[in-house]
């Protein structure tokens, strides 16, 4: 200890000779302040960028905006095709302390990928809303969008929990969640093959071959994905029409679990 101090002494004396006394202290103080600021800033950044968002995705007319309104206020609202995203903080009712940010993204073909790009990094969970009535007609489009979401690099890396909400169950012709699951698995199975065989993109962009979905050789199954996938039936409009409540206890429970 003394030896070290002895070795340092000449250096300190040299320093003191170089600079006037108070300047050394002020320089050290300034450096300290800067270091502390950087640490605080990093901490704040870290907290802000933690993934606290639940994204509502789906095709056009699936019922995302109505679901968004119902979850937040419980009231029925008329809706039009969304052109931009809406976000609000949602308090999970059972546990008052946690809250998540619900983000409703537009489903139109020209916009969906752009908004997904913007918000995918912040996604803690994804709710994929499916129109159960029009599903038979739209199965290929639903599967394509779902495929695009699932093979995305960021989504694969973060593996947010995925809930497929089969909406519009109040209509009698609506398909059940089981049927939808089976159909989607079959469709995604075919899509794996056709998408990887598509002509390569113009640039030869970084994703030379799109990521393989599920296991090779075996038929595609939602259990093969790195994230947890659940299917739930719900109805944003509610069986009693516009005045009554929406039927989505399954959805609320899942949100509580995920938050």
């Amino acid at each position: 200890m003394a030896g070290m101090a002895g070795r340092l002494e000449p250096h300190l004396q040299a320093l003191r000779r170089e600079l006037p006394g108070p300047a050394v202290l002020s320089v050290l103080l300034a450096l300290l302040v800067v270091a502390v600021t950087i640490l605080i800033w990093r901490a704040v950044q870290g907290r802000r960028s933690s993934r606290r968002a639940v994204l509502l995705l789906g095709l056009c007319d699936a019922g995302k905006t109505l679901l968004f309104a119902r979850l937040l206020t419980g009231k029925y609202r008329d809706t039009q095709t969304s052109i931009t995203d809406s976000s609000a903080v949602y308090r999970v009712s059972s546990d008052k302390s946690t809250n998540v940010t619900l983000i409703d993204l537009p489903g139109h073909e020209s916009l969906r990928l752009q908004f997904l790009e913007r918000f995918k990094a912040a996604a803690r969970a994804i709710v994929f809303v499916v129109d159960s009535v029009a599903f038979q007609r739209e199965v290929k489009d639903v599967a394509e969008f779902l495929y695009q979401v699932l093979v995305d690099g960021t989504v694969l890396k973060n593996a947010p929990a995925l809930l497929i909400a089969c909406n519009k169950q109040d209509v009698t012709m609506a398909k059940s969640a089981k049927l939808i699951q089976q159909q989607l698995e079959k469709e995604l199975n075919t899509l794996r093959v056709t998408r990887s065989a598509a002509p390569t993109s113009l640039d030869g962009s970084a994703t030379g071959v799109p990521a393989q979905l599920g296991k090779k050789g075996k038929d595609f199954d939602f259990s093969q994905l790195p994230m947890k996938v659940e299917f739930v039936e719900c109805s944003a409009r509610g069986s009693k029409g516009e005045e009554g409540d929406a039927d989505f206890e399954g959805l609320e429970k899942w949100l509580a679990k995920v938050a």
Binding site: D78, T84, E109
Partner: protein, 643 residues
């Protein structure tokens, strides 16, 4: 009078709605408006027709609201624009607090009780349109006619032509004087007086001959032709020389009809030598005889023009210097909302940039208009400049346009057709020389690689060598993928019936042949045709209407500029006109060829997708079988926006 009036947020929540007289639900027409206008960047003009309704809309970009009014198409209501503006202002002022609150929750929880205000505004607007009294006719005393004197209105026939002749004569004499002056200046050149021919010219008067010769002489020697001197000549001639017409052919004398100047034609010594100026004729004395010089590159002229153009723009920059600096600071720090004047110079520059990148001119204009509409009134964030905001918005708009509006997965659809045991028919159409046959071969190679068998129908029965070209491709493809490696079946076959036959008939036979033989895909190659050629367009429309292909691909080259708009519009129109069905088959997709010949002038992609709103299915980047790509929207937009 109005059918409905809705106010909704851009996020999709309807804030307030007014259902008019007997209107049906407003959602369907408004959705159609959103999908076809706002999302396809056609927001230039603010009205849109959907079935029986006309919809007018206004965007509020500050609070992200949309105001839409719908009324019957047959009515022409003049107060609608003013009504929208008034409602916009009132609504915004009344509910400013809800909007400035935390975004969506404010919209969700707020109750927008706007009915009374709206009815009041509507009543005001309707009354203001009725108030204008019918215009009263002016009485005779008020008109100008009663103030003219009687004398000046009387026209006398005889006076006018004389005045005209006098003035012409004055002009003529003045011109002669001018000529005399310049003639004396040119005395050094030599004698210029042409010998006035005495003999044959009895018909023309002497001074007319003199004048005529003088004019010829000066026309040859002076660069700036005195054209005005010619105009009095015909008039003077008409007045004076009424030549007697000699109709009897027997009496026509060759000499009478010979008006040529004997001085110049014939006798060589009478031809004045000084007319031929060797310097002027040969030009540059220093040139080597017999050598062909290159085209001179005039770079200094262009540089001068640029300097001239830049100078006027500089003073305007200097003028706005001080104000601009304060404005910039204000923009950096506070919340500044964008106005049209701020955006106009930036948009002009972006428009020129897009046109330089080969986007069709009218599309660039419409795009910039739409972006301006979207950004007007928007509040910029801190530390963002107008340029960056506009560029960002334009980039988003371009990516939006290039995103396909429907699924682009040919293999998936082929699999579907395979399951139903029918062939998947693809038709290629386009103008001459864009690469239809080449890209057809590339696409058949890709399909074979994926295990589908292809039948190529040679419906180009016009161009010499078209069938042989496809036969060569078939042979090559079969050599690359022999039947042995695919379980004994030939992967590609050509169906052709020679030249000169009807293309639609060949296509139909080819499809039924494919169905019998179990081919998976039929690729129909048609002859190239100009979009203005009506009979050929009819023939193409007939081929497509009769055979009902699964996919109609328009092949366009990436080199095309403004022509792309015309080609696509006319092709679609022809297909729509000649189809008997309710929903005619239009172009389903675009193949963009010769993409390797353009470096980053990729604007043709934008023009084509904007016009048809159909996706670009394939991109051709060369002439070998592997040069087939799919479109990457982000890469194309990056290349477009790159400086």
């Amino acid at each position: 009078m109005l059918d409905f009036f809705t106010i909704f947020s851009k996020g999709g929540l309807v804030l307030w709605c007014f259902q008019g007289v007997r209107g049906p639900a407003a959602t369907a027409p408004v959705n159609a408006l959103i999908r076809s206008v706002l999302l396809q960047e056609r927001g230039g003009n603010n009205s849109f027709t959907h079935e029986a309704l006309t919809l007018k809309y206004k965007l509020d970009n500050q609070f992200e609201l949309v105001f839409v009014v719908g009324f019957q198409k047959i009515l022409t209501l003049t107060y609608v624009d003013k009504l929208i503006d008034d409602v916009h202002k009132e609504f915004r002022d009344k509910y400013r607090n809800e909007f400035q609150q935390k975004g969506a929750l404010g919209l969700l929880n707020g109750t927008f009780d706007f009915k009374d205000d709206f009815m009041r505004l509507l009543r005001d607007a309707e009354e203001s349109s009725k108030v204008r009294a019918p215009t009263v006719m002016k009485t005779f005393e008020q008109s100008l006619k009663s103030q003219k004197t009687v004398k000046c209105m009387i026209e006398t026939r005889g006076e006018k032509p004389k005045e005209k002749v006098k003035t012409k004569k004055n002009k003529g004499s003045k011109k002669e004087g001018a000529e005399a002056v310049t003639a004396s200046g040119k005395a050094s050149v030599g004698e210029k007086q042409q010998p006035s021919p005495a003999g044959d010219r009895e018909e023309l008067t002497k001074d007319e001959i003199l004048q005529k010769n003088r004019e010829e002489f000066f026309r040859r020697h002076m660069k700036a032709g005195e054209k005005s001197s010619k105009s009095p000549k015909p008039e003077v001639q008409k007045e004076k020389g009424k030549k007697p017409r000699v109709w009897d052919l027997g009496n026509s004398n060759a000499k009478v009809l010979d008006y040529s100047n004997p001085a110049t034609n014939g006798s060589a010594e009478a031809c004045p030598a000084e007319e031929f100026d060797p310097d002027r004729a040969l030009g540059d004395r220093n040139r080597e005889p017999g050598r062909l010089y290159d085209l001179e590159y005039e770079s200094e002229d262009e540089a001068e023009e640029e300097k001239v153009l830049q100078n006027p723009s500089k003073p305007s920059v200097k003028k706005g210097g001080l104000g601009g600096m304060f404005g910039m600071l204000k923009g950096l720090v506070g919340s500044k909302s964008l106005t049209r004047e701020d955006m106009d110079p930036v948009l002009e520059k972006m428009k020129d940039h897009l046109i330089a990148k080969n986007v069709a001119a009218e599309i660039a204009v419409q795009l910039c208009e739409s972006v301006a509409k979207k950004l007007e009134g928007k509040v910029m964030g801190t530390f963002t400049t107008v340029t960056s905001t506009v560029k960002q918005a334009l980039q988003e708009a371009l990516v939006q346009i290039l995103q396909p509006q429907r699924r682009v997965d040919v293999l998936r659809d082929v699999m579907d057709a395979q399951r139903h045991r029918r062939p998947y028919v693809v038709t290629f159409c386009g103008v001459n020389g864009v690469g239809k046959s080449t890209n057809l071969a590339k696409i058949s190679f890709w399909l074979i690689e994926n295990g589908f068998s292809v039948l190529i129908a040679a419906c180009d029965t016009f161009r010499a060598g078209a069938v042989e070209q496809l036969r060569t491709h078939t042979r090559r493809l079969n050599a690359l993928h022999p039947p042995e490696s695919h379980g004994g079946r030939t992967m590609v076959q050509l169906y052709e019936k020679g030249y000169g036959k009807d293309a639609a008939g060949i296509a139909m036979e080819a499809i039924s042949y494919a169905r019998n033989q179990g081919f998976d895909v039929v690729l129909v190659d048609t002859a190239g045709r100009m979009q203005d050629n009506a009979p050929l367009m009819t023939a193409l429309a007939k081929l497509i209407a009769v055979n009902a292909p699964d996919l109609v691909l328009f092949v366009g080259e990436a080199l095309v500029g403004n022509e792309a708009v015309d080609q696509l519009v006319k092709f679609n129109k022809a297909l729509a006109d000649h189809s008997m069905a309710q929903t005619p088959r239009l172009i389903d997709g675009i193949v963009l060829t010769k993409f390797d010949t353009i470096d980053d002038k990729v604007g043709a992609a934008i023009s084509m997708t904007y016009i048809t709103s159909k996706p670009i299915v394939f991109v051709g980047t060369g002439q070998t079988y592997c040069d087939l790509r799919s479109l990457n929207a982000k890469a194309v937009v990056a290349a477009l926006m790159k400086a």
